[in-house]
Symmetry: C2
Subunit: 227 residues, 2 copies
């Protein structure tokens, strides 16, 4: 194994019996057919399992919805990308020439995929216990400083809870306009809260995003009116 890979092994706290697995985990599909896509699939499952268990224990009184939101924030691409950067994983990833030139080793998606593949490789090489230990090490700081689950709620969820706590009927969302070229459509959605006499609109590149924007507007309107 090269010196660079030995340094990486020390950083994750795991030494591979089969260094070929480590090399495969660090090979992007642009660089060859023995790449990390299958290992990424495997690692994604291990990651969800281990981080799910960690938040389950860390928040022993939280309902399922809070656990799901916490886990989602920990396993999303941006978080994985940060952890990968902390390991200097980009240095070790083998990319095809095109990806190399466009700076692919800095892209969060490529870093995140390689980190998941690394977890999958540890799982194959050393079993679940080894992969779990590596992950708990990499996530130690984040698990010790978990955010409040409420902070992670999206606007539609926060609006719904705001209304429910005041015994008001739920909002109705409806698409009022779809415009733009076929490959670049824009949605306009109305959010109507009958009990409060409030109607807001939001725009977005998808129906979902437009609904979130409309819900955010509605929340701000309701909160302004209360002052």
């Amino acid at each position: 194994m090269s010196e660079a890979l030995e340094r990486l092994s020390r950083r994750i706290g795991y030494t591979f019996s089969d260094p070929g697995l480590l090399e495969a985990a660090l090979t992007h599909r642009s660089a060859g057919s023995r790449n990390n896509e299958r290992l990424e699939f495997l690692g994604d499952g291990v990651l969800n399992c281990v981080i799910g268990e960690a938040v389950f224990h860390a928040r022993s009184d939280s309902p399922e919805g809070d656990l799901s939101r916490l886990r989602a924030s920990l396993v999303r691409e941006a978080t994985l990308g940060e952890i990968a950067r902390g390991l200097d994983l980009g240095e070790h990833i083998r990319l095809g020439t095109g990806e190399m030139k466009s700076g692919g080793f800095r892209r969060a998606s490529i870093l995140a995929d390689a980190l998941e593949a690394l977890v999958g490789a540890v799982y194959l090489d050393g079993g679940f216990g080894a992969a779990r230990e590596v992950l708990l090490g990499l996530y130690a700081k984040r698990l010790a400083t978990l955010p409040d689950a409420d902070e992670l709620k999206d606007a539609k969820t926060r609006l719904q809870e705001y209304l429910q706590s005041r015994h008001m009927a739920l909002p109705e969302y409806s698409v009022v306009d779809v415009s733009g070229e076929p490959h670049r459509q824009s949605f306009r959605v109305a959010c109507r809260i009958e009990d409060a006499g409030v109607q807001t609109c939001g725009n977005g590149r998808s129906r979902r995003r437009a609904e979130q924007a409309a819900a955010q507007q509605a929340l701000e309107t309701l909160q302004r009116e209360r002052c």
Copy 2:
């Protein structure tokens, strides 16, 4: 432990050290506050990990997309519901009076959730290895007769592959109409394949479903024209 729960333990091939965990796994949220929702969250992660690994090994040459589709078909609610029915899990689930009267013990969603919670409970009680063994037992037949991954592809994916294999440009989808009451909107989507001079339409309760319907129409049109 009751005779019924002992029978269930024999069926899954696992005996709990802490039978309280088994009881919690079988308690629907309608029946009390110590219910199975958190265990379901935990079990869902274990399930994805174990079944992911199983398809990874069963299809050692398949690309990641095929593995994802196979796993999705194995862990979806309908499949979990079937496995739960095979265990007569409905007999053992504790439901609130309302759910009981409406026949909740037969509903796939309640059965699937309880099965996931059962997996989460085995994981807490006996660790990953025990949960893995229980799952591989429950899935043995399905893993031995995995479907062809192509059969599991949705219409949009099949249409895309059809076009790519003929070096034709990808279809363009666009929403052409949104109608109906706010809480019950209906979408009409056009699918346009310029290279083939084909345009079809599909309807659905969501944009996604309307796109799938339009893609299915397009596939049928293209295949008819080839005859």
